[in-house]
Point group: C2
Chain length 210, copies 2
């Protein structure tokens, strides 16, 4: 078989893209478990099965890899929201689906080393401005999703008009992330179950009287 130059280049690029994707995936889990500062080059080499040069072929620095890995982790988390919201009707049902998607994923989140958003927020807040900006952007997106669902519910009359959509986002995210921290610390999902029950009562309390 004769490959022309173009085919050859596209095969080459696709292999490079595959290797890059492989590095990002392995680094994402390692960074999430060990922290960006905590993960050493030796651990990155073990996790990816590549030499230092093989990694630096694809990323100019550990920082560049850290940011690509964070973006990858956030994409995974966002997909969980998209799946959870599919087919849900009304604001209450949607808000409760977001709570359930988080709380019910404890085992998966735990195996991944925790919530990448919280880990990066804690890990980067005093140490890594570029990652911190990334974490803020991802948190903005999550808050925007909750706020938009809440505002829609106020508009349709499903939720009480005085509902503060920004506060709903804060309370839901704070309670879920704090409960995940407790659940991970003890290896006990009870804390997330309690958060879910509490938030469902809270979401019910936003309902406009029929």
């Amino acid at each position: 078989m004769v490959m022309n130059k173009e085919t050859d280049r596209s095969v080459h690029m696709s292999k490079a893209a595959r290797t890059r994707g492989h590095i990002i995936e392995k680094a994402a889990q390692l960074f999430n478990q060990r922290g960006y500062a905590g993960a050493s080059m030796a651990e990155l080499m073990t996790a990816t099965g590549l030499e230092k040069g093989g990694i630096y072929n694809h990323f100019v620095s550990k920082d560049e890899l850290a940011i690509a890995a964070f973006d990858y982790s956030i994409r995974l988390a966002s997909r969980r929201h998209v799946r959870a919201l599919k087919g849900k009707q009304g604001s209450s049902e949607k808000l409760q689906a977001i709570v359930a998607a988080f709380a019910d994923s404890f085992e998966a989140i735990s195996a991944w080393g925790g919530c990448p958003l919280m880990n990066t927020a804690i890990d980067s807040d005093d140490a890594h401005p570029a990652l911190r900006a990334r974490a803020q952007q991802a948190m903005d997106d999550w808050r925007y999703l909750i706020r938009r669902i809440t505002q829609k519910g106020i508009k349709t009359g499903e939720l009480v008009p005085s509902t503060d959509a920004d506060a709903v986002a804060t309370i839901m995210i704070a309670t879920l992330e704090g409960a995940l921290m407790l659940a991970k610390l003890y290896g006990d999902r009870t804390h997330l179950d309690r958060a879910k029950t509490h938030l469902n009562i809270y979401i019910d309390s936003l309902h406009a009287p029929l």
Copy 2:
């Protein structure tokens, strides 16, 4: 002045204890800001103003120093609770004092690099078993404090008998710690103010009807 052997030894020990205390205090803040893995020996030397040997004179390892520093940070946080509870009557008032003590300390906690308990829980959960055990113990103490206050309130009839004291501890701590994470991420205490308002409504909802 002639110093006898005993005086000499006590002066010597007191200087050693002072140096040890100085190292712990500086290390506690550095570890809290940079993480245990993230804080380098060079940074520890800069923060304490001591040479490597001067630090290792007092601690056999970075791990031993990390644990002493964590204990120191937790003692500071516990004192905040003791001060907040002083003179408070009844379970509701005490629970609200715990919420206020945390939420109103945002600037101080922030300057210190965040809540040492959450930082250590996140930092250590997959990487540092000894610190993780320490964080569990400190979290147990905080949960026990809230549980005991809640149980007292049930016993005196102030709170509804069906109140789940364990769940109250989870919800209060999760909401406060999660809101602190948000407040620190954005440098905006609004998230803690919302958590405080939300938790005060929650605590009110536990009140037995008069």
